[in-house]
């Protein structure tokens, strides 16, 4: 291997990916820079929240060493998130990357191949450190200033913190792929990666404002939990790093070195474990994968259930039900997302003392607009290339959309029913109020499913690898805008028509409104379907 040439090639790959250079083939623009910008925004938000948290700890009299335990907890969370990202990237880069065949055919040793792919994985796995680890240290330093020399420790500490889960992730991925097919593992891990980021965001938006509310002060239990060393701290690399920063903040260079030295050792051991696992199992895993692509069919599936009538609607319902229930990553994601959408209004509710019925209505509205994206928009790219049958078969686009809308409603309605029942029970809503809420929520669901179908038809990417990113980036941004617009619109309407009102017009108005507006996305989706081309 000519190292300089290979390094130059990898550098060009990374540069072209980041700068969205376009070749003659008119490929899609890479959103790497936009993703980087979004990550920096998220890092800024998390950093400001954590700075407030450490300021509260300092105000409560926590020493630098005690506050370092909170830092250790945050870094441990970042490492756990990193482990999920690393598992995903290890599967993606070591076993499914498009250049893997080329590299395998080249006269490279397994160690060299592993090294190259780990370098590829570095920028892709850095997200948890960028959006949680680095803001945590910055937040700590804002309350407990670090001397200049301590900042020099930051790059090596973060490099070791990155290497430890990466090594473990690679080793674990090798074993994981003996149990789960690579593509499914990749989709599931991509999903976990995104959910991890979502949880970080929810914690930042929901938990931190409560912990750092100056009026309320830091709860005693939270203070104790954050400043007490957990039992596993002695074995936690995150806590070693945090204690190192704690010692640095206390002006103790020797103490810092004592705490940070084991980190380096752990990183080396972890990378060695990765190299050992890859040396023993990577080639076999890649060969198994290659054999699977061109090899034998899966066995042991249930025979088909016989249907009674040849109806497009029935066939679409059966197909979508099978596709969803057989893809537990997407099904799990829909259910998790449904819970998160429902809980979203709680982020601000206690701060604004919202009445129960209003909160229940807002939670259900958040869920319904969310289901439009979670179920309807994703159900279209979920079909992948199978969607081409809408152009091959003698089915009018309008009929196809009607069947699809019914199929997505069949998935969304049970979720809505369960959540509604929970909220009615939880908030003890009287029947009249429940009816008024449903009169608003059901039309909202109809409209959100129609809008979701349109975004799926217009922006769906049939070659998605992450179940949370089945639309193009432009599609996801537009879908987010539509979600906000819908939620705002329905909330305004709800405010104009107070819950509990039985006036016919107010009950019927959302339905009329939703039906009128739904025509627009449905017509646009039908037009797109009838003009869409399948070039490759």
């Amino acid at each position: 291997m000519r190292l300089a040439g290979v390094a130059l090639g990898r550098w060009r790959l990374a540069r072209n990916h980041l700068l969205s250079r376009r070749g003659r083939s008119r490929g899609r623009r890479s959103p790497a820079l936009l993703v980087l910008a979004l990550m920096l925004v998220m890092a800024g938000l998390v950093g400001s929240g954590l700075a407030a948290l450490f300021t509260q700890l300092a105000l409560h009299g926590a020493s630098a060493a005690a506050a370092a335990m909170a830092l250790g907890l945050l870094l441990a969370l970042a490492l756990l998130a990193l482990l999920v990202f690393d598992l995903h990237e290890a599967v993606a880069t070591l076993l499914l990357d498009s250049d893997l065949e080329l590299l395998r055919r080249a006269p490279l040793s397994p160690a060299a191949l592993l090294g190259l792919k780990l370098l590829d994985a570095l920028p892709r796995t850095a997200t948890p450190l960028l959006v949680l680890g680095l803001p945590a240290v910055a937040g700590y330093a804002s309350a407990y200033p670090l001397p200049g020399w301590a900042w020099l420790l930051l790059p090596p500490v973060f490099l070791t913190l990155w290497a430890i889960p990466l090594g473990l992730g690679v080793a674990a991925a090798m074993h994981l792929l003996r149990l789960v097919p690579a593509r499914r593992a990749r989709e599931a891990l991509a999903l976990f990666s995104t959910l991890t980021l979502t949880l970080i965001w929810v914690a930042n938006a929901f938990l931190l404002p409560r912990l750092t509310d100056p009026a309320e002060g830091l709860p005693r239990a939270a203070y104790a939990a954050l400043t007490t060393a957990p039992a596993a701290a002695a074995w936690s690399p995150a806590h070693w790093a945090a204690r190192g920063f704690g010692a640095a903040a206390a002006g103790d260079p020797a103490g810092a070195a004592r705490h940070l030295a084991p980190l380096l050792l752990a990183a080396l051991l972890s990378l060695a474990l990765a190299a050992w696992s890859a040396g023993r199992q990577l080639e076999g895993a890649q060969a198994r994968l290659a054999a699977r692509v061109g090899g034998r069919p899966a066995r042991g599936r249930r025979p088909a259930i016989r249907r009674r009538r040849p109806s497009l609607l029935r066939a679409t319902l059966a197909r979508d039900a099978r596709l969803f229930t057989r893809d537990w990553t997407v099904l799990g994601d829909v259910l998790t997302a449904a819970a998160l959408w429902t809980l979203l209004p709680l982020v601000s509710a206690p701060l604004h003392h919202t009445p129960g019925p209003t909160l229940a209505r807002t939670m259900l509205l958040a869920l319904t607009v969310g289901l439009g994206y979670e179920v309807a928009a994703r159900s279209v790219p979920f079909e992948r290339d199978g969607l081409a049958w809408v152009r091959l078969a003698p089915v009018p686009p309008g009929r196809w959309l009607a069947a699809k809308l019914t199929a997505t409603a069949a998935i969304a309605l049970p979720v809505l029913a369960v959540v509604t029942a929970s909220l009615v029970f939880g908030f003890r809503l009287p029947p009249g109020e429940t009816l008024a809420i449903l009169a608003l929520v059901l039309p909202a669901l109809g409209l959100s499913l129609c809008l979701g179908l349109w975004t799926g038809v217009a922006f769906g990417d049939p070659h998605w690898t992450n179940p949370r990113a089945t639309l193009s980036l432009a599609g996801r941004l537009l879908a987010t805008g539509l979600l906000v617009a819908q939620a705002t619109g329905w909330l305004v309407l709800a405010r104009l028509a107070p819950a509990g009102s039985f006036e016919g017009l107010r009950l019927g108005l959302p339905l009329v409104l939703a039906a009128a507006v739904s025509v627009v996305p449905l017509r646009a989706a039908a037009a797109r379907l009838s003009t869409r081309e399948w070039c490759h």
Binding site: R299, R301, P303, R322, R384, A388, W389, L392, T531, H536
Partner: protein, 255 residues
């Protein structure tokens, strides 16, 4: 006289500056297998996709058994079956479930659909794998599922884009026999392939496409005559004819 299974008149399709297919006219007659040949990038797949309704032509008419693809798309689509080079399948359905779904799309009665699917699965040696998820199938098995889906509604026209890729010799023979039987039954078959020896043995006529334009059309004997190889006295294969015709065309283009 009844309409031919496929009639294409003046088909043109552009991708930006590039004219992929340029004023192409061809006809697939009832009871024949028409081979569609051409070098890489000649416009074969574009033509087939346009005839299947997956691409919109910039100019020209496409009639499927007399039904205009532009004016009566639903009727035209009901009269054809298409096997793309990369199959359009649902990975997490089994072959049998997929055929059930396709049958419903074409409005087949359930019993007829089940019987037809069973016959095609047996014919293509897919019975054992019929209830396995397609995601676990090999390339050849996926291709066979795609063929079964295209033939399920028994259309008068079947178009296949590189149908033999990934098939083992037994499966390739089964497919060739199946297509021969369809032609013998009065259907029309349009096959795009790179395998010239297969085209030579299987097709009644061939159309050779080069740079988006038809450079030759006819039976092997007619093409031999058109290429001038007959005069040399040596027995010319389709490969010889193909190379000669595309070479001449390339040379003319270069002049």
């Amino acid at each position: 006289m009844s309409e031919p299974p496929l009639r294409v008149r003046g088909l043109t399709r552009r991708y930006g500056e590039l004219t992929a297919v340029d004023g192409l006219s061809l006809e697939v007659r009832a009871g024949e297998i028409l081979g569609f040949l051409g070098p890489n990038g000649a416009g074969k797949s574009t033509t087939l996709r346009a005839c299947a309704g997956l691409l919109r032509p910039d100019a020209g008419d496409i009639l499927i058994a007399g039904a205009s693809l532009a004016a009566a798309p639903l009727r035209a689509r009901a009269l054809m079956g298409f096997v793309p080079d990369r199959p359009f399948l649902y990975e997490r359905l089994s072959a049998r479930e997929f055929l059930d779904f396709v049958g419903a799309l074409y409005g087949l009665a359930p019993d007829a659909c089940a019987a037809r699917a069973a016959a095609l699965l047996a014919r293509l040696d897919l019975v054992e794998a019929a209830d396995d998820l397609i995601e676990g199938c090999s390339l050849g098995m996926r291709q066979k599922v795609s063929v079964a889906a295209a033939l399920l509604h028994d259309p008068p026209l079947v178009m296949l884009d590189e149908p033999l890729q990934g098939l083992d010799p037994r499966a390739a023979r089964a497919l060739k026999d199946l297509l021969r039987e369809r032609a013998a039954g009065g259907g029309g078959v349009l096959v795009s392939t790179h395998l010239l020896d297969v085209a030579e043995r299987m097709c009644d006529r061939v159309v050779i496409l080069h740079r988006g334009q038809k450079v030759a059309e006819g039976s092997l004997e007619e093409l031999r005559g058109a290429s001038g190889l007959e005069a040399s006295g040596a027995p010319a294969t389709l490969e010889d004819v193909f190379l000669e015709l595309t070479r001449e065309e390339a040379a003319e283009g270069g002049r």
